[in-house]
Amino acid sequence: MDNSIIRVETLHKSYVNGSNALHVLKGVDLDIRQGEMVSIMGSSGSGKSTLLNIIGILDNYDAGAYYLDGIKIEKMSETRAARFRNKYIGFVFQSFNLISFKNAMENVALPLYYQKVSRKKRNMIALEYLEKLGLREWAHHLPSELSGGQKQRVAIARSLISKPKVILADEPTGALDSVTSTEVMEILKEVNATGISIIIVTHENEIAAQTQRIIRLRDGIIESNEVNHNFSNEVSAGVLLEQR
């Protein structure tokens, strides 16, 4: 069995807006193996966000096939989609998307709430993850009291807590300065080192350069898909996250 975690075959997606149909994805083929760290690049309108949404089961596709961990993801009920997202996928967003009235710990623990983990237990696990990301003492702060880099680290902790197979990061450094960007990338690399696949959507070359493979989308088709030879999997700060 191949160890592909995400396999996409001739994927098509168009948005119908009134009488206009916008063909966004025009037959995309993609294969991401377990433990890979891949970046998807493209200008706006290239279809990269749509692709990420489909991979994240936030959106349906029209034609083709999509396998997540060997399971074919088809049009499914929202309830099932929610379960898949909860179990397989962690999201990291450009705008962090933390819930403003919950503190860092509660935010991190939220995916476990939907797995019906008891409050005490999930808060304990959330604290562990915050600890790993160096935010232990910020656990009881609200997002508004955290810096951008800290918020993104909370978001990463949240994406990790449900032990997903894949982390989808949509412009994870888009709202951060270059220093914190580097920090966040370091963390993502560490996460990747534990065996979790990471897909980063970005338009910054510097970010893409830090991934193993760079996929360029243009007008809904894959323009190039090349292995990044400059990639180094060395983690500067040592392994913070335990091996899975």
Binding site: D59, N97, I99, F101, Y113, Y114, S162
Partner: protein, 415 residues
């Protein structure tokens, strides 16, 4: 469960003022419903209080003067009931429980005990009379069959008479004079109909014999054994035709005798109050609907404001059902808590009103006849609670559906 409440609280805390304002409309609705229901109940109780001293299926027959010529007899002829009428009705009528004739001694016979005396209404009755009007015997007994058969000179007094004539003395077994004739007191009673009424009862046979009443009866009273208006009306018309035949007046002559059918009037009054209660429910529920719309409105705005949060929750694994539950439970929570306060407040006001009324009624029995014990009972509280929960669910329904329909992709890019 605690988790669940935590989730609700954490979001409500965001908008304390709004939650309170929204809840107020519901609390107000329930409060009004309760007040209305309580008042309706109070009016009804007052009405029933009026009927309290009388068997509700009593029929009272009074005689008058004929209003039509009949069988060669002119009009304006006085109808006089006698013991024969009593015997005939007792014999001929079926479906009656108690029947009694009455005669009055009026002012001709003052009651005297030692140096105290007073002029009271003294009525000659049969033992069955206590089943037609209802008296609460405080001491001793009512008139009985032996008193009638043996023409005993015994008397039963209402409490106010006892208070006046005997002061602190025990009246039982004492002799008092009625029109100069000594009667032995065998019982005292509390009069439900009018606790201040000064009434005395003696055996009718004794009254007729001692006070020269011959065999005349002033009027007749019957308690039927039926609880239906139709049957009572039937009995009423039988009485009319029996008496018409005996006294030779036209059955259609409504001035020869007068029949007061208590049940009919009781049922009519009940019907009126049933209608009032209906009306009160309708108004109350309308008020609550206004509250529901308010809650629903706020919840829709809340959901709109929380679009992004709901999107986040969905992206990390919240199922549509869990989102629906979140919104619904919030809405039920607001309505339930607010409604509970409205309920408490309403109950409190009713209780207060009741206490004030009771205070007034101490000195004036009339109050009780108009408005008595205006309380909302347990059944009302239960229905109100059910209405509240239903209200919360209804109020949350549209917002919840809106929330469940939120697409995470759109929500997350909704900056």
């Amino acid at each position: 469960m605690i988790d669940y409440l935590e989730e609700i609280f954490s979001t409500l805390k965001q908008n304390k003022l709004r939650a309170i304002m929204t809840g107020f409309s519901v609390a107000w609705g329930i409060f009004m419903l309760l007040l209305l229901l309580g008042s309706g109940k109070g009016l009804q109780n007052g009405m029933e209080y009026n009927f309290r001293g009388s068997s509700t299926n009593a029929i009272w027959i009074h005689s008058g003067e004929t209003g039509e010529s009949y069988e060669g007899l002119g009009k304006g002829r006085r109808i006089q009931f006698t013991n024969e009428d009593y015997d005939m009705l007792k014999r001929e009528l079926s479906g009656i429980k108690n029947i009694s004739g009455r005669m009055y001694l009026r002012s001709s016979a003052p009651l005297t005990y030692k140096n105290e005396f007073g002029i009271y209404s003294i009525t000659g009755v049969m033992p069955e009379f206590n089943g037609i009007e209802v008296f609460d015997m405080q001491q001793g007994r009512f008139i009985n069959r032996l008193d009638i058969d043996n023409y005993r000179k015994v008397i039963v007094l209402s409490q106010p008479i006892v208070d006046v004539l005997f002061k602190d003395e025990d009246p039982m077994g004492k002799y008092i004079k009625a029109g100069g004739v000594p009667f032995q007191v065998v019982g005292t009673f509390y009069d439900y109909q009018n606790r201040d009424a000064r009434r005395a009862f003696i055996p009718i046979s004794t009254g007729q014999r001692v006070f020269g009443g011959a065999n005349r009866l002033a009027n007749l009273a019957i308690a039927t054994s039926s609880a239906s208006v139709e049957e009572n009306k039937q009995i009423e018309s039988e009485i009319r035709s029996l008496l018409a035949r005996r006294h030779r007046f036209s059955e259609t002559d409504d001035r020869a005798i007068f029949i007061w059918n208590t049940l009919e009037h009781f049922r009519q009054a009940q019907g009126v109050f049933a209608a009032i209660r209906m009306f009160v429910w309708v108004i109350g529920i309308m008020t609550i609907i206004a509250g529901i719309v308010g809650v629903s409105n706020i919840m829709i705005i809340l959901v709109k404001e929380r679009t992004r949060e709901i999107g986040i929750r969905k992206s990390i694994g919240a199922t549509p059902w869990s989102v629906i539950r979140l919104v619904l439970s919030e809405s039920v929570f607001i309505t339930a808590v607010a409604g509970f306060f409205g309920l408490l407040f309403g109950m409190g006001v009713l209780h207060l009103a009741n206490m004030v009324l009771m205070g007034i009624a101490e000195n004036n029995d009339m109050v009780n006849r108009m408005f008595y014990n205006p309380s909302a009972d347990f059944g009302v509280a239960v229905s109100a609670t059910l209405i509240l929960i239903a209200a919360g669910l209804i109020a949350g329904f549209i917002p919840a559906r809106k929330a469940a329909a939120i697409k995470p992709i759109e929500a997350l890019h909704d900056e």
